[in-house]
């Protein structure tokens, strides 16, 4: 049981490039989330999904897109990378209603846009 797996762990992008951050969980959780963590700012919710085929915006969705074609996978897409997207990205999952105590986090992806 691997939990929540994110790839890659590190990535450097040039301005304007695109990339997809991968997230997969093997716990059959319905709810999945993408957060970004900026220094001194805590975590901000980018997008979330309550089940396959259902996604919704969080606090800071601009510049990102997501899809949820399966229960296991929740990729995050950056179409035109900008320096403001330099951050650490965390994917998380939750088996159902109720938050916090059942939230499982991946180990993060450190992204730099230069």
């Amino acid at each position: 049981n691997a939990g929540v797996t994110q790839t890659p762990k590190f990535r450097i992008l040039k301005i304007g490039q695109s990339m997809t951050l991968q997230c997969t969980q093997d716990m059959n959780h319905n709810y999945m989330y993408w957060y970004r963590q900026d220094p001194g700012m805590g975590l901000k919710l980018i997008y979330y999904s309550v089940g396959a085929g259902i996604t919704d915006k969080g606090e800071v969705p601009n510049g990102y897109n997501v899809s949820r074609s399966t229960t296991e996978d929740f990729p995050l897409r950056l179409e035109l990378a900008a320096p403001s997207q330099t951050s650490v990205y965390f994917c998380a999952s939750n088996p159902g209603q109720g938050g916090g105590e059942k939230l499982f986090f991946g180990s993060g992806t450190q992204l730099s846009v230069l």
């Binding site: 001194g40 919710l45 965390f90 939750n94 109720g98 059942k102 180990s107």
Partner: protein
């Protein structure tokens, strides 16, 4: 809207002395509150949670927190700091919906000196 404010961005203690990390919350209803810990280059781990049962909540590694409605506070304490407690600590509130979304504070860096 729900929010949390961590009153100290950085706290420094000596090993063996008490730890106090302060958190105030704002919520329009009875909130679910959490403390998460993040060790360097690691993901986030749940320390403890409050969900309207006992106001004094005990967590892992000797940490505890007290929910005080009159003061809208949820401070994290530990009687005796250990070197391994050095980390980033986040006070977190559930957004109150049925999606499991979390709202994070800005974080407090705990430094433990020998």
């Amino acid at each position: 809207a729900q929010s949390v404010t961590q009153l100290d961005s950085h706290v420094s203690v000596s090993e063996g002395t008490p730890v106090l990390l302060r958190c105030n919350y704002s919520s329009s209803y009875s909130p679910s509150l959490f403390w998460y810990v993040q060790h360097p280059n690691k993901g986030l781990q749940l320390l403890l949670k409050y969900t309207s049962a006992a106001t004094l909540v005990k967590g892992i590694n000797g940490f505890e927190a007290e929910f005080k409605k009159s003061e809208t506070s949820f401070h994290l304490t530990k009687p005796s700091a250990h070197m391994s407690d050095a980390a980033e600590y986040f006070c977190v509130v559930s957004d109150g919906g049925n999606t499991g979304k979390l709202i994070f504070g800005q974080g407090t860096t705990l430094q433990v000196k020998p």
